[in-house]
Symmetry: C2
Subunit: 425 residues, 2 copies
């Protein structure tokens, strides 16, 4: 792990009081009006174009092919040794007073973030979504199955998950169309088909897999952290009516397949280590327990959801945290591979909806509005049961270090477009 000392600062403008100080250095894939996709690191109001940097005398020491890419897969596949070596060099370059600061090369390699387009950072082969918040699971169970609903029997023993749909993972800013599907009418008397009437978001944290693992070779918990290249905010858009009709016995499918959004900047474990916070857990199977008294940890950072109707005022509707996960990401990886399932570089692993115990910590509308029956009051006197067309949903996430330094994800934005027309509508 490589924490960058908090006393150090960058010469790049906008790098104080930002999500992207010298201590963060998240990776992304961007293009400009004059370049194709390339790999960069966010710093203040700029992005450091690493492909351009590698053509200068300030090039970082790294395998030549790593940054001549349009995704982060090759870099993520290298493993922690390489990640840390590059991080040290980038921090040195970007620090106040470095030989790079004020050089002609810096002028070329630092591109204003306002001028770039961000792209999906990975070629994603697999997307696995877990279900790690007890508050989310128990509230959903009460809402869907009535007061008799409780946690599933396996809850205390393992992190529950399902395979999501990787093809429809999109980057922040990609608008999504309201999906069609079949569902029961409210009174349950008949089946309707058409645009969903219960479009929801779910606030999650996502982790990208680094080197990956071989089929038939479980990743021991003690080594699971080596598999995590970095984290993003994740919006697991859900059509609750479609999901409810289809889900038993094989789980959600079309209710979640129409799109999953992620934030564009991938924040490394090195940057989030300031915020490690232990997870309290029941006694669990040995493969989910640290041998030498280590404890499972998550990140004590602040996450928020805001909602803005078309032309209206933005309202913050939830404030929550990854500390509400009952499992660490390392445990998710140990469980994912314990049966021999292999992980591939660029696989995405979601935390599940990060709801906490308090009303303002409910991280989806299903919970906030009790399945649409108790609409939310937004600014300007607007109400929302579920999302309406042209609603804009924004997630943010950041931690603040003891010395007041903010390290964050930027924002994850998504706009709801009206349903597509079909031949059969």
């Amino acid at each position: 792990m490589h924490l960058i000392d908090e006393s150090r600062a960058s010469f790049v403008s906008g790098s104080l009081n930002t999500d992207f100080p010298l201590q963060n250095l998240p990776y992304g894939v961007f293009s400009t009006s004059s370049t194709g996709r390339r790999i960069g690191v966010a710093i203040g109001d700029f992005v450091l174009d690493i492909a351009a940097l590698q053509a200068t005398e300030f090039a970082v020491e790294a395998p030549a092919h790593l940054f001549a890419q349009t995704t982060l897969n090759a870099l993520a596949g290298e493993g922690r040794g390489t990640w840390t070596r590059i991080r040290r060099q980038l921090a040195d370059l970007l620090e106040q007073g470095s030989s790079f600061s004020g050089s002609a090369a810096a002028n070329i390699c630092l591109v204003p973030r306002a001028s770039i387009t961000l792209h999906l950072p990975f070629d994603i082969g697999g997307f696995t979504d877990f279900y790690c918040s007890e508050h989310h699971a128990s509230r959903c169970s009460r809402i869907i199955r009535g007061s008799a609903g409780g946690l599933p029997p396996q809850w205390q023993h393992l992190p529950i998950a399902y395979n999501g749909r990787a093809s429809s993972v999109v980057v922040s800013g990609t608008p999504l169309r309201r999906p069609h599907g079949q569902s029961l009418t409210r009174d349950g008397s008949s089946v309707r088909w058409g645009p969903t009437q219960a479009l929801d978001f779910e606030l999650e944290l996502g982790a990208f897999v680094g080197p990956g693992s071989a089929l038939g070779k479980p990743v021991p918990l003690a080594l699971a952290g080596e598999q995590i290249f970095g984290y993003v905010l994740l919006n697991d858009w859900s059509a609750r009516d479609i999901q409810r009709f289809e889900s038993a016995p094989l789980g959600p499918f079309q209710g979640k397949a129409f799109g999953t959004s992620i934030s564009a900047w991938v924040v490394t474990p090195d940057a989030l280590n300031y915020f490690r916070s232990p997870v309290e857990q029941p006694a669990v199977a040995s493969y989910l327990t640290f041998d030498h008294g280590g404890s499972a940890t998550n990140f004590d950072i602040s996450l928020s959801v805001s909602l803005q109707p078309k032309g209206g005022t933005r309202s913050i509707v939830a404030k929550t945290s990854p500390t509400f996960m009952s499992w660490s990401f390392e445990q998710l990886i140990a469980h994912h591979t314990i049966g021999g399932c292999n992980l591939r570089t660029g696989d995405l692993i979601g935390s599940g909806t990060l709801s906490g115990p308090k009303p303002e910590q409910r991280a989806c509308l299903l919970e906030m509005t009790f399945d649409g029956t108790q609409p939310l009051l937004l600014a300007d006197g607007v109400h929302r049961a579920y999302l309406e067309d042209f609603d804009s949903v924004t997630f943010t996430g950041a931690g603040t270090t003891k010395s007041g330094q903010r390290i964050g994800f930027g924002s994850l934005e998504g706009l709801v477009l009206p349903s597509f027309q079909t031949e059969h509508q």
Copy 2:
């Protein structure tokens, strides 16, 4: 569609009374002791090395890059026009009396199948597994939930599916290790963890996606067939105890993530069109209905499962057919995309277990042995409740045309290895 006239025959030896006559021409990816992976077409006892063919005067007319590949993704991405054009040319080359027969080029390009190694034919981004046999669904429901079990309420309205794990799809012949996981003890009183005690196979048909579709653009039923490059046999290995403990409410995950096997030869819709057979269905939503009186069809071909203990005799334990699907593959694609979910070239779509109404048509051990409580009697007086270590499972599949021509998949083989050792066992 391009049926090759049944009166035509190939000059290649072994191409009569085989799964691979001139009328089949399935694609695969193979290597030999002296070559890397390349694309070939099975014909009788040989494989036609298309990369080698393209360097001769008999080269087929096709985009230059299509066969300079180690997977079928580029070819599948081209679409039906190209597929049919190439098929016509290959049939002409391989026919008795062609100028290719007896040429020096034929000698170079035809490689004995006995000397090749077959590889996974596609780079698979997504694996979606449906649940299309009413006989399988209703039997499983009775076995797992008792006599009160019936079909899920959405059964009559849509094809049920879940996202499977694409990373662990392997080609025929790849042995799989018995997976570890957590499950309830038989009496339900406690949770155990260790190697599965209920390892099963499931006989399915799989379809590979050709061109793919865009996010937010449903594929209309009438165009869904254009998305299907070809079919394989598929073994959806399942650990029933692990699956049962984990599956509610989000569906199967680790119980099926340790491996899915597919046959190596991808049989095209052109070759299977001899066997089209209508599917009887309830009234369904408009997007699943043909506009102009067309009907959903599947393939009336014969599938079999056999089981061979280590050093023992092979016993056929099931004989079934894709006609037991309640939906066509075209309907699966229309449903998969109706919410806007995109398909990618090389995505794999499974039919679900192809069980029929008769006892010998049960296509997994869960059904055959009533969850292990009524063990099967195999040859040599051996019994099986679920699979034991070193059991070998073989699927075959083929149709026979009216004139007696056989068109098939070859075989799908899988060997069960003992569970891996873990640090924590």
